[in-house]
């Protein structure tokens, strides 16, 4: 047992927070947010006793656990309550999971992003469960007149062996509400878990496979109107005027108007990124009628800033790569003189295009704004920030704004940015009616907050015996400077120089699953292979040699290195063993490893024979994310991340012509499909009992390197430019 102070999130442990009645705080009940099995429904308690903001215990022993964080497919709605249930010591079958509304009084960091939900929630979730268990034990101790520390718990039962007393949690729940919230609580030892580390299937699974209304787009309410927006057709343009008269009389159309989303000078949050200040709204009775009006409406736009094209971005980024930066991001030793003395030099440039997020569920939000209050419901990864902008835009205090999250049809970073929440609220206010704002796929793809386009140039120097003596990286991105200067191989090379540039553009960019890592990992790991080849060494052993260096004799202060070389080497060794690296399988193979979002991932990827773009036959993946909360779901995240990485690096791109996105739907923007997906995936976890870290992102970045390294083995050429499908060999005449 570990004793911990309950100070973190202590407010969460104050009772009677208004959540006791289960989601009623915001005035309407989103039933789908409450997950019950039929047995649970038939067996609901007569009374619930709230022991803290995270959970309440029913008089019959059923327990409702609030899932605080937004669910975007990363499965936190199952895994976070599992942690609470573990420390509460209740049987999982007796747990009902409910999506918590935004409530900053109770929960900290109600955000989905950076693969941080589990890592940052770990302690408070455990404390929530442990605190409640403590209070139940105290209640039983008082009832039975025995010392609390002699009472044991298991699967929702309290037992005092010596006296022969036992009771279910439900019987003690009422009395437990009168117990003082403890100053400190005991947590279970890692390793004595009975729920954590076991496969628990998605709590929303049944509702998903039966098509229940779970998503924002599925919200339909009495008197609700549908709203759509029309946004500028190109970045660098703004609203000029329109004649909406004929469109306003189209069937089912209620109104068409120009509106200001962000008045000049209004205080915005980072989550408003990508927001367009002025838009046109179309409001009508149904989606199809709005879509028809949208097609018919002619809006005039005018040029506001430069009309940027992909050719311009590429040229400007290439020019930056030729320029040293004013001050290096990191410098160890002296690369220039090391390159002069090097026996061999390797040099390569890698690049990747803009990407759209393309969540399967397009952006949408329900809003009902009246002079008294604002009710909002829908898919958003950053409700806390949206609430602040809403308060500023609507001129309402925070208490009058309620935001409830639905399950989200994908996030990938897109729903960190919520201008659509503000747009929905402004439209509702103007219409004085409940509305659901719906983006068409085209709106969603052409008004994105995109993954920036990137270019990076590497130069490495080897000595006579093939040791890496110098490494120079210079990277550039659109509105993003790309380089993590303290990541590997920093700390493993005597002479190291990292430089980073950012190209300011008016195409809005933002976080896209594993920001920056989603490109730089693939480039770095592909380049590492080129260097290993030049050194005449096995690519996996070459990496391990570098980690040995970083472990035994790190360059610079090891505190500055943003990775743990032992855990890094650990995943490589595990993948080496599990993939039988070094044995000839007769197939083209590539290896890569990367560390980001606090987790370590290594992969060996194997291709099928044949073709310009051979299919992935098998990936063996090793992961170190500390304790694995829910193995079946953890593997799902890892598999999905790798398929995502392979898909986007092979097939996807968003390009611009005079500021206009050239792809607007899945007929022109290619996403990976079933027959292109890896045939087999094996995932292995390092078992080390370290506190858990996230899994939503870390498997994506390295797989792009593993893929390009395998492609080199298969085709004899290096792939420098994403998407790889277009990186064709030059025609030799």
């Amino acid at each position: 047992m570990t004793l911990v102070k309950t100070k973190i999130g202590r407010r969460a442990f104050i009772r009677n927070t208004g959540l006791a009645s289960g989601g009623l705080v915001i005035g309407f009940n989103w039933l789908a947010s409450c997950k019950m099995t039929p047995e649970q429904v038939n067996n609901l308690p007569k009374e619930w006793f709230e022991l803290n903001g995270f959970l309440k215990v029913g008089d019959n022993g059923l327990v409702t656990i609030m899932s605080p964080n937004p669910e975007i497919g990363q499965n936190v709605k199952t895994s976070m309550p599992m942690i609470v249930a573990e420390e509460l010591d209740v049987a999982w079958k007796d747990v009902i999971v409910e999506q918590a509304p935004l409530n900053t009084d109770i929960f900290t960091r109600q955000l989905a992003g950076g693969s941080q939900s589990i890592r940052q929630g770990w302690e408070s979730l455990r404390m929530a469960g442990a605190t409640a268990r403590h209070m139940l034990k105290e209640a039983a101790a008082q009832a039975w007149g025995v010392p609390a520390n002699e009472i044991t718990t298991k699967d929702g039962m309290l037992t005092h062996e010596a006296s022969g007393n036992s009771a279910g949690y439900g019987e003690m729940a009422s009395a437990a509400t009168n117990i003082e919230v403890p100053e400190e609580v005991e947590l279970k030892d890692n390793g004595s878990f009975s729920i954590i580390g076991t496969d628990k299937r998605n709590v929303d699974g049944k509702d998903i496979v039966t098509g229940k209304p779970l998503f924002g787009l599925d919200v339909y309410k009495e008197g609700m109107l549908t709203a759509m927006i029309v946004h500028p057709p190109a970045f660098g343009m703004k609203y000029k005027g329109m004649n909406a008269d004929t469109v306003k009389t189209m069937p089912g159309i209620k109104d068409v108007f120009h509106f200001v989303v962000y008045p000049e000078g209004m205080e915005k949050q980072w989550s408003d990124g990508g927001g367009i200040p002025e838009l046109v709204a179309i409001v009508g009775n149904s989606t199809w009628e709005c879509m028809q009006a949208k097609k018919a409406l002619q809006v005039e736009w005018e040029q506001d800033s430069m009309a940027e094209s992909t050719s311009y971005h590429e040229k400007a980024l290439a020019e930056l790569l030729e320029k040293p930066t004013e001050a290096p991001a990191r410098q160890d030793g002296d690369v220039e003189s090391a390159f002069k003395s090097a026996a061999k030099i390797v040099e390569s440039t890698y690049s990747a295009p803009y990407l759209a997020h393309n969540t399967m569920e397009p952006m949408n939000f329900f809003a009902h704004v009246t002079p008294e209050k604002a009710e909002l419901l829908g898919p958003i990864q950053t409700p806390e920030f949206a609430e602040k902008t809403l308060a500023a835009r609507l001129g309402m205090p925070l208490e009058k704004i309620d935001i409830m999250m639905t399950r989200m049809g994908g996030g990938f970073g897109r729903r960190l940015y919520g201008p659509f929440v503000i747009e929905a609220a402004v439209i509702s206010q103007k219409m004085n009616a409940p509305i659901k704002l719906v983006y068409t796929r085209e709106d969603d793809m052409t008004q994105g907050t995109y993954r920036p386009s990137y270019k990076v140039k590497y130069k490495a120097g080897l000595d006579e015996s093939g040791n890496l003596i110098a490494w120079h990286v210079r990277g550039a991105g659109t509105n993003d400077d790309l380089i993590f200067e303290n990541r590997f191989p920093a700390g493993a090379v005597d002479n190291y120089l990292a430089e980073k540039h950012s190209l300011t553009t008016n195409v809005t960019t933002g976080a896209w699953r594993a920001p920056r890592s989603n490109f730089i990992a693939g480039a770095e790991q592909a380049f590492m292979d080129e260097v290993a080849e030049a050194a005449g060494k096995d690519p996996l052993e070459f990496r391990l040699e570098l980690f040995d260096r970083a472990i035994n004799n790190p360059v610079g202060d090891p505190e500055n290195n943003d990775y743990d070389p032992e855990r890094y080497a650990g995943v490589l060794k595990l993948v080496k063993e599990k993939s039988n690296w070094g044995t000839d399988t007769g197939k083209a193979r590539g290896v890569a490893a990367y560390y980001c979002h606090n987790s370590y991932v290594a992969q060996v990827l194997e291709l099928e024979d044949g073709g310009d773009m051979p299919r992935v036959d098998k990936i063996t993946c090793a992961v170190d994310c500390g304790i694995v909360i829910n193995p079946i779901a953890a593997k799902n995240q890892i598999e999905g991340g790798m398929i995502d990485g392979i898909g986007h690096s092979t097939y996807s791109a968003l390009s611009f012509e005079n500021g206009r996105p050239e792809q607007s739907n899945f007929d022109t923007y290619r996403l990976i499909r079933h027959s292109e997906s890896p045939k087999n995936i094996e995932v292995h976890f390092v078992d080390n009992g370290i506190d858990p870290t996230g899994l939503g992102e870390p498997s994506l970045p390295p797989v792009i390197g593993a893929l390009s390294n395998a492609l080199y083995q298969a085709t004899g050429r290096r792939f420098y430019k994403q998407p790889f499908i277009n990186d064709k060999p030059p025609l030799v005449g």
Partner: protein, 151 residues
């Protein structure tokens, strides 16, 4: 506006809509059957897949006026209790991530198994290729289809 009588999930349903309205929006906006999803509107993603006389069909490009007497099945009507073998296999394999594409995947898979109870890997991939899963659950989908085929 025109009135249509449709046969959906074994029930006669009346709707009064513009004849050009795609079934996707008739189901979602007018009949409160929201399991059928909107993903692209141009028959590219499969999120809106329904059965039209047993054949997997994209509801986003199927106008209400073209349906006539055909029988439509949506995810809500695939089984009474959510216990169609494909649905059960989906739960057992724990296929969904975000879950948004899965109704469409399940409708395509169930139509495939109806016609071809023992598909090969290649046949599964070909049948499922019109259904995008942005979360990348493809390997699990194939596993679940094979599991459902066994039962």
């Amino acid at each position: 506006m025109a009135s249509f009588t449709l046969n959906i999930n074994g029930k006669q349903q009346e709707v009064d809509v513009d004849p050009s309205t795609p079934m996707l929006w008739v189901l979602r906006d007018h009949l409160n059957l929201v399991g059928t999803k909107y993903g692209c509107g141009i028959a590219q993603c499969g999120a809106c897949t329904i059965h039209l006389d047993g054949t997997a069909t994209r509801a986003c490009m199927l106008t209400v006026s073209s349906v006539g007497n055909s029988e439509i099945t949506t995810i809500e009507g695939l089984s009474e209790e959510g216990d169609h073998p494909v649905q059960k296999a989906w739960l057992e394999v724990d296929v969904p991530q975000c879950g948004y594409c899965q109704a469409g995947q399940i409708m395509t898979a169930s139509a495939l198994l109806e016609k071809n109870p023992n598909p090969t890997d290649e046949e599964i991939e070909m049948a499922m290729n019109g259904n995008i899963c942005r979360c990348g659950t493809y390997t699990r989908i194939k596993k679940a289809v094979k599991l459902a085929a066994k039962s």
